[in-house]
Amino acid sequence: MLFSSLTFLYFFLPAVLLCYFVLPMRMKNAVLLIFSLLFYAWGEPKYVFLMVFTIILGWFSGLMIEDSLGRKAAKFWLILSVGIVLFLLGLFKYADFFIANFSAATGLSLPLLRLALPVGISFYSFQMISYLADVYRGSVPAQRSIIKLGCYISMFPQLIAGPIVRYADINDRLENRSLSMSSAAEGAFRFIIGLGKKVIIANSMGALCSAFSAASEESILFYWLYAIGFTLQIYYDFSGYSDMAIGLGKILGFEFMENFNYPYISRSITEFWHRWHMSLGSWFRDYLYIPLGGNRVSKPRWFFNIFVVWFCTGFWHGANWNFMVWGLYFALLLVLEKLWLLKRLERSEILGRIYTMLLVVIGFVIFNAADMPEAFRQIGGMFGLGNAPLFNAESLYQLRNYGLLLIIAIVGCCPIVKLCARAIGRLGISALLQPLCALGLLLVCTAYLVDGSFNPFLYFRF
């Protein structure tokens, strides 16, 4: 189920909130687990059993690891359970990629498994791994209640597109949490903002990208419109989803970590990755980069660690070569920055930002391409390699069609909107303005959803 769907907004959400707030505190985790499984089953009825299996596996393994802490058995249970989780992830997400490439390399024609990708498997697998690793490290106690652990793994606000929540961050809230009007109001506002980002801006940018794909003629302008449009689409899509998840979490009494912090104002790629998909970045840092030795090793080993982490980051996003190239592309940029560029970039307000955005835009063209030849063709098209004219009637029309939206989307990537909202808040009219804006935004988003315009969630495929 999509957050940005009428079914979620006007059926699922009222139902879950009514049950959640009416029933006593001791039953809230069970309510959340039941509705979360229902939420997941709505989109993936068959794979809900896989989810239940993962929960049971994690719950049992967590207990076994804790019971055998300090002994070799703990490591055994950790390796076994993490191995099963990774096997399932590999089976559903990567098996066909490996089979296809093995067939291509050897000339064999092995049949593909053609398994549908369970939605959100990359997210909940990583949450389960972090839980098991934290229990093994002794940094969190194993959860004895399968309902509470199930609630953590399957919690619908962050189930299918993150943020990747650490068990340590919500352990206390699973046991005991307070609900308040203040956090519910804050969460509702955050949810509506995220919904607006997704429905009005991300979907419109998605339509621009679709228009580019359907265009009969190429032009340099259209290549750039597409590249910028997709860069904005993925930001508003994913950060909008994160806003909705964080907002829902607040309504339900949880605090999820922030996932985005204005990444497009970064002055370097290093800074960009501190601001973009922060929950994934910190997961790889804590569960891969640091265990590999982090930066407290020799320089060649340090760079090797960076390449491993970014290869995995790219591969996590999808079973395709372009995702791996995308990850390694950022690894290379990060190494270059660490060696030479970073200090120079940080000294320059403007140059650093132009450099970062240019490379990020190119990175997202690689990310969204069907394959590497297409990525090269599109990047080449952006820089006039090929026979495309500077512009044509269609690209000029699309510039006009999406011009104001592009400006709004670009301005919205900067903290200026937040600063303006704070300034308005200081005028003392926010009590009136906030509900009006939120209600207006809800109505407009509902109108967009009723009209049935373009509504995919990009991060569903991960």
């Binding site: 006007y10 009007m181 509702a188 006009r400 104001l404 939206l405 509902t446």
Partner: protein, 364 residues
């Protein structure tokens, strides 16, 4: 207190949405969009496990949402007025007309249309004394878009592509006779009262120059065309006028749409005030229709392979023919035509709009 009020307002909004959805009765048809609406999906273990129940429920929620047309109108206004977008779902307003973006040229679709025509020609017409003509009608976007700065399907390119494929037919060019005002403002079709010159050109090309005199009669009710409904904009409307005379009044029209003959009105006044008033012309969408002109004795018959544009054109051609047969191969398999028509020495006209040719998958 501020937070409490805000939380209550938002909770009330979504609860109101849910309650009104449950209380408002479901509709079966959208008048404005002219389409059937999704009904409550049937629930079963199978439909849940294969996900079809969920898909249908999503469509049901979208189709049956309370105040659906008002919300669609809000979205349209928000996109066009506030965000200054050039179109809403491909529709835009310019020079008092609602038009729809078309194009780009789809060679695969044009090949499909050309293939259908060629197969009809080879099977029924090639070895007869039939004389065969071909004509194409540009979409109104072709006239509006250049002025409005919108992309459009290049009609000349489409025309030249199709002519290469259909060189066995005599071509009657009519695009140069058309202009924006010849089309309804809120609909895709041309206005019958404005295409007498087109009919005359076609008649001349086919060697029958007798159009006759027509009375132009208005339909009293406003016509909100298909674009008006799709854009959820009722501010732009039209008035339908139809051409009639003693010959037309004496004609009988028989529909073979259901397989057996059924008398239908030449101009259906009930349809003129119904869901799609353009359907007043010759029974609207109809697979096979025969007009018999009892006042004429020309010895000539015409067979028109056509889309909906042909419904308003055919009445203007009837003066010169004893009989006109209209065939819409979107609704009848062309392989079955010899069960209803005996091809011999008739005049045959293929006349299609560019929009249909460029999206011709429905042609059978």
């Amino acid at each position: 207190m501020k937070n409490k009020i805000f939380a209550i307002i938002m909770a009330t909004a979504i609860l109101m949405g849910m309650l009104s959805f449950c209380l408002v009765p479901t509709k079966s048809f959208s008048e404005s969009e002219r389409r059937l609406l999704q009904q409550t999906p049937e629930i079963s273990l199978e439909s849940i496990m294969d996900g079809s129940f969920m898909d249908e429920f999503e469509a049901f929620a979208q189709d049956q949402f309370p105040l659906r047309d008002s919300f669609r109108g809000l979205k349209s206004q928000f996109a066009l007025k506030l965000l200054q977008q050039g179109d809403n779902n491909g529709l835009y307003i310019s020079a008092g007309h609602i038009s729809k973006l078309d194009g780009p040229l789809n060679e695969k679709m044009l090949d499909h249309a050309a293939g259908r025509f060629e197969s009809i020609y080879a099977k029924y017409l090639k070895d007869t004394s039939c004389r065969v003509w071909f004509s194409m009608i540009p979409d109104k976007n072709y006239f509006i878009a250049p002025e409005a700065g919108r992309p459009y399907l290049d009609f000349e390119e489409l025309e030249s592509y199709m002519l290469k494929k259909a060189d066995y037919m005599q071509y009657i060019p009519i695009a140069q006779l058309l202009e924006t005002g010849d089309y309804y403002r809120s609909d895709s079709h041309w206005r019958q009262e404005r295409i007498e010159d087109i009919a005359e050109t076609i008649c001349k090309a086919m060697g029958t120059a007798n159009l006759g005199e027509h009375e132009i009669v208005p339909v009293l009710q406003d016509f909100h065309g298909v674009y008006s409904g799709q854009l959820a904009n009722s501010s732009i409307s039209d008035r339908i006028f139809y051409a009639t005379n003693d010959t037309i009044r004496a004609c009988t029209v028989t529909s073979y749409d259901s397989g057996s003959p059924k008398a239908v009105p030449f101009y259906d006044m009930e349809a003129a005030t119904g869901r799609d008033p353009y359907e007043m012309f010759l029974n609207g969408a109809d697979a096979l229709l025969v007009i018999e002109n009892h006042s004429a004795n020309t010895g000539r018959e015409l067979i028109i392979f056509r889309d909906s544009f042909g419904s308003s054109l055919a009445p203007l051609l009837i003066e010169s023919y004893d009989k006109i047969t209209l065939v819409d191969i979107r609704y009848i398999q062309s392989a079955m035509l010899d069960q209803f028509i005996s091809f011999d020495k008739q005049d045959v006209l293929f006349i299609y709009s560019s929009g249909l040719l460029n999206n011709s998958m429905a042609l059978k």
